[in-house]
Amino acid sequence: MNDLEARLLAAHARGDTRALVGLYTEAGEHANSAVAQGFYLTHAYVYALELGDVRATGLHARLVAMGRET
């Protein structure tokens, strides 16, 4: 398990949604395929949306640009 995976699991375990937005965004940056990137950024976006976090706007724009969100 790499460090990012460990931090993601820890954030899930403590229900730290705010941290999950950043960690899934980070996972998206390091994804090795477009599908994987879309997957991780989607998770970041959904958690940001749930929180009403300002990062949702940027994540949404990225997903739209990738043809993965409307």
Binding site: V35, Q37, G38, T42
Partner: protein, 385 residues
């Protein structure tokens, strides 16, 4: 379904009428019939808007088995939705809480705005693909239940086909037009619940007549005698009682609650108590008001949700506590009669009861309404077969 009850005796004038048959209190099949006829097809009380005071506040509720969500949107509007996801029917909100951004379904994370719009469908078109031609978000918002707020009560029409609220409640709205003023919930010290082992209708019946007051509430005799009361009957809508002698509560210094402004001299001494059919009991006075929402939890179980209101947002906490305590005593005094009548309804052969034409008009008015609604429902069901 058991054989239909005979309601012809209930429909007679009060001098010759009998009360509702026992089955309306003891038969699960009749309870199920009344759930549709008396509660889902009407404007029924669900909660109070004060339960969700701030934008984003969400409160899950169960109304006759139906999972609902009371939600104040970011736009400030109070709405009622079915508390389930449009995807797999999962319950969305388990506990009262603040929705900071969107409601995320805990199952597959479909997200809804606080106004009920479906705003995200993650992976719905495959991993990382959040759209699909077959998923039209505009058509998949939360299922909204028709609702209206009046006197802070959130009224719902589950069937969606009752007359408009303003039409259905025109009589009650007009009767208390002087009190069409802002109501301020007294807060945590001004709400309480009573769990009673009775059918919800018996709480209505007891509330709307003054006949029992001198016997069940002897504390009222010193200043509000039976002869000071009058009956209120609006067939098809509400019934209740009024008093011509209302004495304001005071603290040790003689201070009272501020009056509702400009309601007129008539209300200096007068107060009224309406059972607004089906399940909301309202009271109003020159200086405070209350709402009781009867939550039917079963054929013989009811939770009474009591809320007290004032004319201004800030009232004296000690006086408010005293008022809450005073009303709690009164409403608790009624528990043994509504529970006693419920147990009494298991006496086989009881004919529904004989009304006092002078004193029981408001109760008969309610029974007559029940009979009309149930008969109408049966006719419609029969026509549909």
């Amino acid at each position: 379904m058991s054989r239909n009850t005979d309601l012809s005796a209930v429909r007679q004038p009060v001098t010759t009428a009998l009360g509702l048959p026992n089955a309306h209190y003891t038969d699960p099949a009749v309870f199920a019939e009344e759930r549709e006829a008396l509660l889902f097809r009407q404007w029924a009380g669900l909660a109070v808007a004060a339960d969700v005071p701030d934008p984003g506040d969400a409160k899950p509720l169960t109304f006759l088995g139906m999972p609902l969500l009371l939600l104040r949107g970011k736009d400030g509007t109070v709405r009622v939705f079915q508390n389930i996801c449009r995807h797999r029917g999962m319950i969305l909100v388990e506990e009262p809480r603040k929705i900071e951004g969107a409601i995320r379904c805990p199952y597959h994370s479909w997200c809804y705005s606080t106004e009920g719009r479906l705003v995200s469908t993650p992976h719905v078109g495959g991993p990382g693909q959040n759209t699909h031609d077959a998923i039209q978000r505009d058509a998949l918002g939360l299922v909204e239940v028709r609702s209206q707020v009046w006197r802070d009560v959130v009224w719902i029409n589950m069937s969606g086909d009752a007359p408009d609220f303003d039409v259905a409640m025109a009589g009650a709205i007009d009767r208390w037009r002087e009190f069409d003023l802002p109501l301020y919930h007294g807060g945590a010290d001004s709400r309480f619940t009573l769990e009673v082992q009775t059918n919800w209708k018996l709480a209505v019946e007891n509330y709307c007549e003054s006949y029992h007051l001198p016997w069940v509430h002897p504390g009222l005799n010193s200043y509000s005698r039976l002869e000071d009361h009058y009956n209120i009957e609006q067939p098809g809508a509400f019934s209740g009682q009024g008093t011509l002698v209302y004495r304001q509560l005071t603290d040790d210094n003689g201070t009272t609650f501020p009056d509702f402004p400009d309601v007129g001299e008539k209300w200096n001494e007068q107060a009224e108590y309406l059972a607004v059919y089906p399940n909301v009991l309202l009271g109003t006075h020159r200086d405070h008001a209350f709402a009781i929402i009867l939550e039917p939890q079963g054929m013989d179980r009811t939770v009474e949700h009591i809320h007290l209101y004032y004319s201004v947002p800030d009232t004296d906490p000690a006086l408010r506590a005293r008022n809450t305590a005073q009303w709690k005593v009164v409403f608790e005094e009624d528990v043994f009669v509504v529970e006693g009548m419920q147990r009494g309804r298991h006496a086989s052969g009881f004919d529904g009861g004989k009304f006092s034409p002078a004193m029981d008009g408001p109760t008969h008015c309610f029974h007559d309404w029940v009979a009309i609604q149930v008969e109408g429902y049966r006719m419609q069901a029969q026509a549909a077969e």
